[in-house]
Symmetry: C2
Subunit: 219 residues, 2 copies
DNA sequence: TCAAAAGTGTTGCAAATACACCCATGT
DNA sequence: ACATGGGTGTATTTGCAACACTTTTGA
């Protein structure tokens, strides 16, 4: 029977694309029994803030960015997930463009904060490896039927760049022509007149028609 | 900044099919300002029970059934969703076969409990109309790519009955032949030798190969 | 002129849809 | 015999996957 109430926290899986990898932010824990272990950033939810607000606040504190794509993932509530106190954690997924983040900062309770390659995560504190798994699954699914990928891109980008992000996240190669066909059929992009100069033939730059999250109509 | 912690509750949207309608259980609230208003059943999460356990416990208290399909839906955490105290609510969806439920019981705090037609819900307490919307969306989606419909059916059933449930939930008519083709291709059902006697040509009874939830392979 | 990435269409296959008649039974 | 729901197959369309060569530029 209920007695006392669990605490409520948020944890955020902050994805970005960097150096051709899908990366996430982790913080290093100080307190036992997770000393030295890494975990997703997060913290307790304040009495006067909604879950979304708590997540945005924490995201801002750690990365200094606002106006980020943020979505609730799942709520983890096993009794022993935190060995010290009963904490129910509402996990969020955020997508940010790496360029927008100047510096990662953390609070005194933690001894480090850094980007990690999602494909090679260490063993994390709490149940955060499970959180990671859910988050990646969700990201992959949503990539297919929403336009959220815009959050990971600068304003102007080439088709190759866009495709590369899909390939990194989905973990497989895509066919250039089929990819273009799909993207075109969704009507998300606007051709610009700009070109990206490089060592070789210049690539046309595109931008999103709109940079608000939306579900892509399936018909 | 955080001060104090929100309480944690679960709310359960308990779906069933009855009289050709999709129905849910609602309870009538006594305390102000929701006196007389209906809401989904639920309650605070105990210190020593997981979220899933809390949901199952409440489901059992209200309906007397165990071993029910139950799935976490979404966590609602707006500051003012409960005007009296700060409560974060983890919503669940449950699917039950109406026949398994003998009697609905509620605690002293509430003045009623009953089944309501999902298509004609009254204005509910809290943010429960939003919960209802999410739940229906989820149910419709999951129906398409899982076998969870078994939870709503008795052990033996006819194809017409199965199709009817899909039609009720999806809110549209399906083609009998195409429906059969789809169901067959998923290989979920076993023909039995039983027949359902009725006023006319007897219908063959089917059963599920397995009554455990599973994702239907898309390929 | 060569190297490197950009850009561009067609074909085949599989899955989804549309569609209508005969069958078995109880009355 | 007839009324009622049960049971069954084909043709078309549509979306997805496979596949290779030409173009443009900088060095």
């Amino acid at each position: 029977m209920p007695k006392g109430s669990p605490k409520v926290a948020v944890d955020i899986v902050i994805f970005t694309i960097d150096e051709g990898k899908l990366k996430v932010i982790l913080i290093r824990m100080e307190k036992k029994p997770f000393t030295g272990k890494w975990a997703f950033p997060g913290g307790l939810v304040g009495f006067k803030e909604s879950l979304d607000e708590a997540a945005r606040r924490d995201l801002y504190e750690k990365t200094g960015v606002k106006n980020v794509y943020l979505e609730q993932l799942y709520t983890f509530g096993d009794v022993r997930r935190d060995p010290f106190s009963r904490v129910v954690s509402v996990a969020y997924v955020a997508l940010v463009n790496k360029n927008r983040i100047k510096k990662l900062t953390t609070t005194a309770k933690y001894t480090g904060i850094d980007w990690f390659n999602m494909a090679k995560l260490p063993r994390l504190a709490y149940d955060h490896n499970k959180v990671a798994k859910y988050a990646l699954e969700r990201l992959r699914l949503k990539l297919e039927y929403t336009n959220i990928v815009f959050s990971l891109l600068p304003r102007y980008f080439t088709l190759a760049h866009l495709q590369e992000i899909y390939e990194i996240i989905l973990g497989k190669k895509l066919d250039k022509r089929n990819f273009l066909k799909k993207i075109n059929s969704l009507n998300l992009l606007k051709k610009t007149r700009k070109l990206e100069k490089g060592a070789h033939r210049p690539a046309r730059l595109y931008e999103f028609r709109t940079r608000k999250p939306r579900i892509i109509e399936i018909l």
